[in-house]
Assembly symmetry: C2
Homo-oligomer: 431 residues x 2
């Protein structure tokens, strides 16, 4: 990109919470910003599980980046993939071979789930990070029910379904609870030859309690609420092998028509191209001003960054932290330009929440802990308020009220082309 009026060029890699909030904080400022993303949309990840469970549509939680940034004349969006950096000549290399020059660089390419060295498990146990993941998971869940219905219609054989969720963090808890509601409520009347409510939903956690970043009390409440929905919670249960159709828990194989992966963190491989030593999860250590060692012009933020903040707190990999970091990285660039000193990062903990099924949740704000319907209401309000774009807020609100009143999700669509063969469950013959 050519320099416009000699204004400093800021390149931002990634349009997640960190990158998008950095871009927004730089809108209208005397810098030329280019936001690079492989996708043309920002994804509101906290609600992805609702897309996977067909409560929401992709468009309701994904906002086109250009749309979000349309009113910022100094912010450009580039649909491209960054693959490497030349820190000496200050260039980002793109997959096409082209290069993008920067004066400041903000790397915010996020993280995916980690399979602990077993990437081959992903095919049989997808994680949930993108809209495509959500649609894939929805398709697998729906196909499992379709396949059981087909078997019942054509052969008269009933088969109860088994769903496994690996990882007892917020995502795993939310997925397990939502699958339970999906099977017990949303789909119950859609399938006439099988009883979808007889599905087994199992949540596996390697540690001794789920939601281990929450208090012990919240963990207990979450486990109770999952139990009320019929989810079997297995703690101290390490998943040691994954195949399509079954998983190995400790030494025992367990049937699993669909397995979902919700554990481990693997930061974007781009971190390894920054020439610094990353941690076990591939995260890049950053100074408290969010820049990397020896390169004050390069910031790493969000799930890619490893940081103990100014108050001595390890900053968690949450959307709230990424947003705050995005804003500070932008602020510190502007501070440089104005000759002011940079600020150090201090994580402002707005609280953490996990929702459990249709109207249950646990929430913690410092020492204040709640659970149940009130926590769920709070969770809903906070998430709708955070959703980017007025239109999405209204649409999501309508969907939720509708889903709540009717006790059913809105659109269980399978949208790729369905070869009959592909609806077979692993390990079973053609039906």
């Amino acid at each position: 990109m050519k320099k416009v009026a000699n204004r400093p060029r800021v390149v931002i890699i990634g349009g997640g919470f960190g990158g998008l909030f950095a871009a927004k904080a730089l809108a209208g400022q005397p810098v030329e910003v280019t936001l690079v993303d492989r996708r043309n949309h920002h994804t509101f990840q906290p609600l992805l599980y609702q897309v996977a469970l067909a409560v929401l549509s992709p468009a309701e939680i994904a906002s086109p980046l250009r749309r979000v940034l349309r009113r910022a004349p100094n912010v450009h969006v580039l649909l491209a993939e960054a693959t490497d950096f030349d820190k000496t000549s200050r260039k980002v290399r793109l997959a096409s071979g082209r290069e993008l020059e920067y004066d400041y660089l903000i790397v915010a390419a996020g993280a995916r789930h980690s399979y602990f060295g077993h990437d081959e498990w992903e095919e049989c146990a997808p994680g949930l990070k993108t809209v495509e993941d959500a649609v894939e998971i929805r398709t697998r869940l729906l196909k499992a029910f379709e396949s059981a219905e087909k078997r019942a219609l054509l052969t008269g054989q009933q088969k109860s379904l088994n769903f496994a969720v690996v990882g007892g963090g917020p995502t795993g808890v939310e997925l397990a609870g939502a699958i339970a509601d999906f099977a017990r409520l949303s789909l119950a009347k859609d399938f006439k030859a099988i009883d979808t409510s007889k599905s087994h939903i199992r949540l596996y956690e390697g540690l001794d309690r789920i939601l281990n970043t929450f208090s012990a009390k919240s963990s207990r409440r979450a486990e109770e609420q999952l139990g009320e929905l019929g989810v079997e919670v297995h703690t101290n249960s390490m998943v040691t092998a994954v195949e399509c159709g079954r998983i190995k828990v400790g030494e025992e194989w367990v049937e699993a028509d669909v397995t979902l992966w919700a554990t481990g963190v693997a930061a974007s491989p781009l971190g390894r191209h920054l020439g610094v030593v990353t941690d076990r999860s591939g995260r890049v250590p950053v100074h408290q001003d969010l820049s990397i060692a020896g390169h004050p012009e390069i910031f790493v933020i969000g799930d890619m960054a490893s940081l103990i903040d100014a108050a001595g707190v390890r900053v968690p990999g949450l959307a709230a932290a990424a947003m705050q970091e995005g804003k500070l990285a932008a602020k510190n660039i502007l501070a440089d330009l104005q000759g002011r000193p940079r600020q150090v990062f201090k994580y402002y903990d707005r609280g953490t929440m996990a929702t459990i099924g249709l109207h249950r949740a646990v929430a913690e704000f410092g020492t204040f802990k709640i659970s149940g319907v009130v926590a769920w209401l709070l969770w809903s309000l906070v998430h709708v308020a955070l959703l980017i774009g007025f239109r999405n807020r209204v649409a999501v609100m309508i969907e939720w009220i509708w889903a709540y009143l009717t006790r059913r999700g809105s659109s269980p669509l399978i949208t790729e082309y369905q070869q009959e063969e592909s609806t077979r469950l692993p390990g079973e013959g053609g039906i």
Copy 2:
């Protein structure tokens, strides 16, 4: 399927307008119905082009078949692909090799666009029949703009975009008008390095006027309205070759970054497995009671059927006709069971309409012809009223009002994984 209480088994192939309306007409009647479809949803085809142009989301025009039929205990939905028929033993063969017995069979597998023996053109000129088609077309259109923006940002080169729509029937007219609005209004402020309104949109029709099933007056009005939107209408223009990036019109090659195909009819190949002589488009000739020669228990309806109705009118391949045929096929099955004579089909022409961009249309009801905003309002009301499912009606209405007020589509999402390479335009180098 086992017979329940010796009730006659009706198998319906296809969940489009014909099949779905047959299934609905048989709901609660003393028959066991199995509706077989490769997809789990009914698609409201008349609004597909709005999904292609990112005004609506797939979920707003696609209704899960189970959801639509959930209150009919005697109607089962089977996600499967029918591949052949055994008319002697009255069985439908499925792709998996399994068979489905019937006492009555309704074949309603629809049609696709025909490439006049050049199926290889489809890759570079997709048609619009399914939700997947619509998402694919949306992705191609958006990628073309993204690629031009990328070129402008990285090299400073401006390139105006060329879009070609082949076929001047209602679908082609609707697509061309909607692309014009997309480029002139929806996207105008999203792209900052290129001027999307300078795109060339060309509509090619082999005959001497577009909308040739309408009156000459409506054709003229449609052409005028397209002109107001900046669409170049080329009549008497046969497309004789298609490549990715360009098409041949008569003897001349014309640049086309994206080509869309909206002409020709190819009925489902299932028609050829019914053992009757099909017409040039693969349509099955049916008696006026909608059954095929020699097999009163087999009905063929919708776009697969070729029929001169009781009033001597050739029944058109429209949703309205398919719905009416679906209802009559169901009625005639019930007539058989009750020992009453069958009825013959008479097409009730409710009128035809084509919408042109954001608030223009042409409509004809017998000799009554209108165009412009009033026609567009009427078109909107009729289509929202026809949309299956209350929820979709409300959602679509909200989207439209929103799109109308803000003059922009709602969600220009590209939702598959975007490799940077794949955003290149055909014929250009990497950018």
